[in-house]
Subunit: 242 residues, 2 copies
């Protein structure tokens, strides 16, 4: 089967969590938002799938994965679906739930990163909410970020499999997403992230191990992985990175 991924072009965003799973899992997929104009406009195709005419199960937002005739939305839900098929999650139920639980927590952190620069939501431009962003970020860097990273470092320490991964001895989609969030943190808050990761060797090792995976390395080298940029959900505003 050839999957179809629907996500806005120009940013990594939530789509990148899905891309990393598809790439590591060796899946065939078409990245619809990225299609060149000559193959039909990606954005038009996305709007059409959001409209979901003829479907009884429309999605609220992208990312959407089309698998055969099935449309699956919500990032953690898509990963739950792909986890079993691409061997990126344990086969036993407790293991699958634990991986999903980690994924949901990783995405909670990701959303809090977005809120640092858009605490009032995307109804206002960053420039219209700079003062609020500064206060939100102060609490994020002082309290929330260390709390999340301490938790994930502990999860890694508790996994006695002797691998860099969070769940047992095999890489899961949660490891891919964790590495992606760490890469985002390095982009958005280089100073704070360097400081925070100094005391967290297991998270550093996980990040490096994910981006050293042959398929992930090939994907990054292919030029298909977009660069982080300030239209994305993770942004770099030096005034926020105390």
């Amino acid at each position: 089967m050839t999957y179809e991924l629907y996500y806005w072009p120009g940013i990594q965003g939530r789509g990148e969590f899905i891309r990393l799973a598809l790439e590591e899992g060796g899946a065939r997929y078409r990245d619809i938002g990225m299609l060149p104009k000559t193959h039909g406009d990606g954005v038009t195709a996305i709007l059409r799938v959001l409209e979901a005419r003829g479907s009884r199960r429309p999605a609220f937002a992208v990312p959407i994965l089309k698998a055969g005739r099935q449309l699956i939305a919500q990032t953690p839900n898509i990963l739950l679906y792909l986890g079993g098929r691409l061997r990126l999650a344990p086969a036993d139920e407790p293991g699958r739930l634990w991986t999903h639980q980690l994924q949901l927590t990783i995405l909670d952190l990701y959303l809090e990163i977005f809120h640092t620069h858009h605490p009032l939501g995307d109804g206002y431009a960053y420039e219209e909410q700079k003062a609020a962003a500064k206060r939100r970020t102060k609490d994020f860097l002082a309290v929330r970020l260390p709390k999340f990273l301490t938790y994930f470092e502990r999860v890694l320490a508790l996994n006695r499999a002797g691998t860099p991964w969070m769940v047992g001895s095999r890489l899961t989609y949660a490891d891919l997403s964790m590495a992606q969030v760490l890469a985002g943190l390095h982009y958005g808050f280089p100073a704070a992230t360097r400081r925070e990761l100094r005391r967290r060797p297991r998270l550093r090792a996980l990040h490096d191990a994910v981006f050293a995976r042959p398929r992930i390395a090939r994907y990054v080298a292919s030029g298909r992985r977009l660069a982080f940029n300030n239209e994305d959900l993770v942004r770099r505003y030096p005034e926020l990175d105390r």
Copy 2:
């Protein structure tokens, strides 16, 4: 099996989504945070389960469901687990994923409701972020809330089963959570919610049908369901409910 639910006492919060599923599913459970002091302090028990000594799979936050020796955290993950066991989700995989997708979207809306009064996070009291809350709420009531409610009303319209539910002919945990969010909206934003629901008869019918279920009605009448209050994730600040 007797489940144990760990969630902060005094508020409905995210714990209530789990309680409604346990009640409707007829499950036996102990609500640890609510235990009277004579049975040991609920908060101490919660802190102990968060500490998770002896467990290799600690939770980041409550709610946590203890099922036998398994600790399961993250609200949608707990509902995913309970859905199959309490017959509150379809048995087929596409149906299960669709129910989970709806649940994740309902919880996205719930989080946005929390952010109306705490856009800068809970590191600051409401009184310290009133101006930001006012701006956040303005966009929420004008743009986000109608967008979510239009989506869910459409989902109900697309379900041709002739029932008040979102997925096929049987009630799911997503219906329970949807009704709970609508009840929260009625509490937090009575004027805006009345206005928004005027044009959305299917959401009104779903809310009423859930709270008319015999087991849910018995639970509400038992006095065990806490009242909404302004320590909760949904709050009523009349100055925000234009």
